[in-house]
């Protein structure tokens, strides 16, 4: 703002004050009314939603999933977006660079925007920046709130089409107890290190492998493996079915477990949803 605009503002504001009203009571009564409502809200929430205490600190745990307070969810989600570790997009992008850049921009706002215009309708850049930042933070906070997909095994995932006691039900149990959810996501539950398996049964996987399987499974002999047999091959020896796969080999499962698991996986997306 140049000197002329500054002087014009000072004159205009002096006129506004001249035509205005005294601080007490015309500003204070509004302040007090709103503050009373806010306090009523806080005390009401304290009574209605009593604060509990969780389990005590155990620093040698291996099953706890850390989560921050809700007002840090947007930063927490940022860490999930910048997941891959390479020189162009390192971890510090989300932990250090982006938050500090945002803080510096926040502090420097009055020095970036020095125009005299105050009406929001005539400040399109400011308005769009404000809307983008608000949507960005609100959406990330919402995602942080709902996106806590449990990764540890043992969680049940409801499927339609699985009859209790069937091979597929046994396969689902194997899937959950062997920690498959740690890397694979099914119906929104699980990690994202490996591919999403929600509809893997529709993928029509097939592979040729002429070697011997670590765990012989009746009916799954080479050299072509397709349908449920492909899942048997892949679970026992991922690199045999898909060279270069990073998935560890689950060669300690029994033949029955492997068959049940394969039945379960082969029907995902078709029979079991």
């Amino acid at each position: 703002m140049n000197r002329a605009d500054q002087e014009a503002y000072k004159r205009d504001y002096a006129q506004a004050k001249k035509e205005g009203k005294p601080f007490y009571p015309y500003a204070i009564y509004k302040d007090h009314v709103v503050a009373v409502l806010v306090f009523a809200g806080i005390i009401g929430m304290a009574i209605w939603q009593r604060v509990a205490v969780g389990p005590p600190v155990y620093s040698a745990t291996s099953t706890f999933e850390p989560r921050p307070e809700w007002y840090f969810f947007f930063l927490f989600q940022l860490l999930k977006i910048f997941k891959n570790q390479n020189a162009l997009v390192p971890v510090i992008m989300a932990t250090f660079i982006i938050p500090n850049v945002l803080m510096v921009l926040l502090l420097a706002t009055p020095f970036i925007d020095r125009r005299a215009e105050r009406r929001i309708s005539k400040r399109p850049f400011a308005l769009s920046v404000g809307i983008v930042v608000f949507i960005f933070m609100a959406w990330l906070t919402y995602q942080g709130e709902t996106g806590a997909a449990p990764i540890s095994g043992g969680t049940t995932i409801p499927f339609t089409g699985i009859t209790p006691g069937s091979a597929a039900a046994a396969g689902e149990t194997v899937y959950l107890t062997e920690g498959c959810t740690s890397c694979h996501m099914v119906k929104g539950v699980g990690g994202q290190v490996g591919p999403n398996l929600t509809t893997i049964g529709t993928a029509g996987k097939s592979a040729t492998y002429s070697g011997k399987l670590p765990v012989p499974v009746p009916g799954a002999t080479g050299p072509t493996y397709s349908g449920a047999n492909w899942f048997v091959l892949h679970t026992e020896c991922p690199t045999c079915a898909k060279p270069g796969s990073a998935m560890p080999a689950f060669a300690s499962l029994s033949a029955t477990d492997l068959q049940n698991l394969a039945t379960f996986l082969n029907g995902l997306g078709t029979t079991y949803k």
Partner: protein, 276 residues
């Protein structure tokens, strides 16, 4: 006609007035307070401009509830969890005060963000209120840190692990990150000194900073005045009047910007010379 006009004052009133005069003689307090309360503010202030006061009121609530919670809280790793249970279950209204403090923290964050949004939309960060915005942004950052440090004090699994990750995020900052994280934690990993450090930071260091900056922020707001909403009727009226005056002045000027219309003091009249 005020009540002082009706006869002599009672002894209580006289004593009260004597005390006020004694203090005022020496402090000029009534002048200062009188100026603060009676100064004019623009007539059309919006209800959204109450968010700043609401945030400050909640800070007061947090300070007071925090002080009384501190009377029962024990900042040692072996006894912290037990003291929180004691406050929540045994102490009279302990559950209420703890709840007010916890919900007050969320309310504070929400109010501070809404207040910042209001200031941004109104353009109130522009001249002459740039420093008010800067002190306010620093206050926002300090309030977020209060949330971070206070959260740990409950000393349950959720609190502990959230803080472990937050400290590791700090440590990932280039070059000085590991040192800052070590200083905050009191060591290279969480240890028995970490909790009392966070307690000292939460109780003393940051509240001192917040109180100082609230003081600066309020000084600036009082001195510079509460801003007027940019769409107020008065400012619209003033702007229209100014634009009309500018248009009228432009009409006076000719195309080349100079005043070409001159008023002739003695207009010449063409009379009987027409036929000559």
């Amino acid at each position: 006609m005020s009540t002082t006009d009706i006869g002599p004052k009672g002894s209580a009133t006289q004593a009260g007035e004597a005390v006020v005069n004694f203090v005022d003689d020496r402090t000029a307090a009534t002048t200062g307070i009188g100026w603060f309360l009676k100064r004019n503010i623009p007539g059309e202030t919006s209800w959204f401009q109450t968010l700043g006061f609401a945030a400050m009121a909640v800070f007061g609530l947090q300070a007071v509830t925090g002080i009384v919670l501190a009377m029962y809280y024990k900042p040692d790793p072996t006894t912290a969890y037990g003291s929180i249970r004691h406050i929540t279950d045994d102490v009279t209204w302990g559950w209420l005060v703890r709840g007010m403090h916890k919900w007050g923290a969320s309310a504070m964050i929400i109010l501070v963000f809404l207040h910042m949004a209001r200031v941004f939309i109104f353009g109130s960060y522009k001249y002459p209120r740039e420093l008010t915005w800067v002190t306010g942004a620093l206050l926002l950052i300090m309030v977020m840190f209060m949330g971070l440090t206070g959260y740990l004090l409950v000393w349950d699994q959720k609190a502990y692990w959230a803080t472990v990750v937050a400290m590791n995020i700090t440590a990932s900052a280039p070059i000085i990150g590991p040192y800052i994280a070590d200083i905050l934690r009191g060591g290279t990993t969480f240890n028995s000194d970490s909790l009392s450090r966070f307690y000292a930071i939460h109780m003393l260091v940051i509240p001192g900073g917040i109180a100082t900056f609230i003081g600066l922020h309020l000084f600036l707001v009082s001195k510079l005045g509460i801003s007027e909403p940019p769409w107020s009727k008065r400012s619209t009226r003033a702007r229209r009047a100014e634009e009309a005056a500018a248009r009228a002045a432009a009409r006076q000027r000719g195309p080349r910007g100079r005043h070409e219309v001159t008023v002739d003091p003695e207009p010449q009249t063409l009379t009987a010379e027409a036929g000559q």
